[in-house]
Amino acid sequence: MKNIFKKRQDPLTDTQLLMTITICIFIGMYLFAMIIFGGGFLHAQQIFDLLNDNASLIIVSFGLTIVMIGGGIDISVGAVTSLVVMSCVLYLNSSGGNLFVAILLALGIGLAFGVVHGLLISYLEIQPFIVTLAGMFFARGMTTILSVNPQKADHAGFTALRDTQIVIPWLGYTAKNGNLVPARIELGVVVAILCLIVMFIVLKYVRLGRNFYALGGNQTSALMLGINVKRTRFLSYVLSGLLSGISGFVFMMHTGAGNATNAAGMEMNAIASSIIGGTLLTGGVGNIIGTFFGTMTLTTIKKIVVSSGLNDPWWQSITTGGMLCLFILLQSIVLGRRAKKK
């Protein structure tokens, strides 16, 4: 490790280092799963399944990463996702439901939450945790006010969109009965990948994205550099809200039904994904690609626990907690050593 760093002219930044660790661990873990469990892990469909099931979590984590890079926190994302799903399903089921308007509705709800959070946090200087906690309560409460019972979307246009899948025959595998099962990707994954690309470009090459890092790194310095700190912080929450809206629509495309318990605990999963991906809650450090691999790592851990035959209901979260603990300790030790070296 030491030699690699000494040879480089330009040593890795904290962001790059944490991201590299995550990617290495993800690849290592996946290889481990392939060797030990074989079976499903050898098929490409396994990765696509992970993506299909977690597209909305991935999108939400991107928003959270941006807020966390800016030094804030947004714990309303899961609840907003749930509210978007419920309201879109109810709208589509009502007479005259239009798919295009439903997408606008999803984006609108997300954006509205983002704007209100941003205004309260940035311009009224209220602690982000409390504001987004209130946002979470409000969204969860509104979801149950809209409907306590699960609602299934039966809009014709929507079901067509939901069942649209990208089929890749050459990545498929031959099932036991000799049939070729092609690899399938849902549209939500495409949306997630698009978000990944756009957010990556925004954080890397757009001034706004660089401002997020400056804001999270040191607010006073950012102010002295002439960055509009309040507007930057405001926009970070708006982006997060917007991504929650998109995530809600993707969630609906995956499940096709609205339920008051949808996306329960998603905010904590999203925070965990961002952290595993190398984002620091103190701000200024983080990366979208890292977050993507963070989500994949988190979901792969859960898959591995299921495959390893620990069927008791408690093992999944206990192992997830244990792995989370390992990651967090590893990051702390690595960053601590680097800080000492400097």
Binding site: I73, L120, Y123, L124, E125, I126, Q127, F129, I130, V131, L133, A134, G135, M136, F137, F138, R140, G141, M142, T144, I145, V148, A260, M268, I271, A272, I275, L280, L281, T282, D312, P313, W314, W315, Q316, S317, I318, T320, G321, G322, L324, C325, I328, L329, S332, I333, G336
Partner: protein, 369 residues
């Protein structure tokens, strides 16, 4: 002028909780008056009425909305005490208190079940076991925060993720019940005393912490670490120890809250015991006027904060809002409260009052001349 002083910090950090309580009381008084005198609703019971009723074991006890507020907020108040300490010392919050309380409750029930008959001795033994386990988990969180320098929310995310599953595992995949007059005495009423026992437990906890602060320098040291860690260290305070200690004390509070929760129902359900209490506890600390960034703190503020939250909930229940919808209304009130308490609003309001006072003086001066 007097009015202005009240709003611009006459009560210091207790302004927000007091304003909140006053608003809620005022709201309920107006509602009572409307219901009784304007709408003349028959059988309407005032929000503030307190009655003495006989409970099912023939014990005369107090009942009414006010009693259910101070009774129902007990777990929250106990947790808020510990949460205030952690917040003040570390500048972050513990989000695992609900999960840790479930573990403490499970250990409590497990020890009671293992010891066979339930008497005062076994209950104390079970309480001590639960307390030690909760403190060990507190120390685990504290070590991550203090020694490994991980932000508290992240460090406690681990236990938040797996705590309830650990409780499930301790219970062996069931939700065991305990039935005994002693457990009922802890969770509801002790025969002969009309006040609910959880309220007394909160009072005892408050006295214990007040005594702790009175005879040790814990309060001063905690504030010093929270305000500036390096400065505290240079002055000979060990920040690591103080942070660790705050988490261990929170662990003790968690075990007490968990046991109140278990005793109230007489069973341990790992999924629903003190669900979402971590968010309410953090909210209580914030409503109590404590900075979530650490530093100066007032335990009393947090406890009033806990009662504000419960009063809000009970007010909504008395207006026939269903328990799942309460959250939405709660959110609106929370936002209103924090907006009133925000520094920008205070400044604007102060300036507005000053301008009005100035224009009044001017008008007076013009009249006189």
């Amino acid at each position: 002028m007097k009015k202005k002083r009240l709003f611009s910090g006459g009560l210091g950090q207790l302004t927000i909780p007091f304003v909140a309580i006053c608003l809620l009381v005022l709201f309920n008084v107006i509602r009572d008056l409307i219901m009784i005198f304007v709408l003349k609703t028959p059988d309407y019971i005032s929000f503030f009425s307190i009655e003495i009723t006989k409970n099912n074991i023939g014990n005369s006890v107090l009942s009414g909305n006010l009693i259910s507020i101070i009774n129902g907020a007990s777990e929250l108040a106990v947790l808020a005490i510990g949460m205030t300490l952690v917040t003040a010392a570390c500048g972050g919050q513990d989000i695992s208190v609900g999960a840790a309380a479930a573990i403490a409750g499970s250990v409590f029930v497990k020890v009671l079940k293992a010891s066979g008959n339930i008497n005062a001795g076994t209950v104390i033994l079970a309480f001590l076991c639960a307390c030690i386990v909760a403190m060990i988990f507190g120390a685990f969180n504290g070590t991550l925060v203090a020694v490994f320098k991980i932000q508290p929310m992240i460090a406690t995310l681990i236990l938040y993720t797996c705590g309830r599953s650990i409780a499930y595992w301790i219970n062996g995949g069931a939700t065991p019940t305990v039935e005994s007059p002693i457990i009922e005495g802890i969770g509801r009423f002790i025969p002969g005393i009309p006040i609910p026992t959880p309220v007394l437990i909160v009072a005892v906890m408050l006295i214990v912490f007040k005594v702790l602060f009175r005879f040790t320098s814990l309060e001063l040291f905690t504030q010093a670490v929270g305000i500036n860690q390096s400065a505290a260290r240079l002055n000979g305070i060990n920040p690591t120890l103080i942070k660790l200690l705050s988490f261990i004390l929170l662990g003790a509070c968690v075990s007490v809250a968990g046991i109140i929760g278990v005793s109230r129902l007489g069973l341990i359900n790992h999924e629903t015991l003190l669900l979402d209490v971590e968010m309410d506890a953090i909210l209580a600390v914030a409503i109590g006027g404590n900075s979530l960034g650490g530093g100066r703190f007032k335990i009393s503020g947090s406890i009033i904060g806990a009662y504000v939250i419960q009063m809000l909930t009970i007010t909504l229940y008395s207006m026939k809002v269903s328990s799942t919808d309460v959250k939405a209304y709660k959110a609106i009130v929370i936002v209103l409260l924090v907006v009133i308490g925000s520094p920008v609003f205070k400044e604007k309001f102060g300036r507005f009052m000053a301008r009005r006072a100035a224009s009044k003086v001017q008008a007076k001066g013009a009249e006189e001349s």
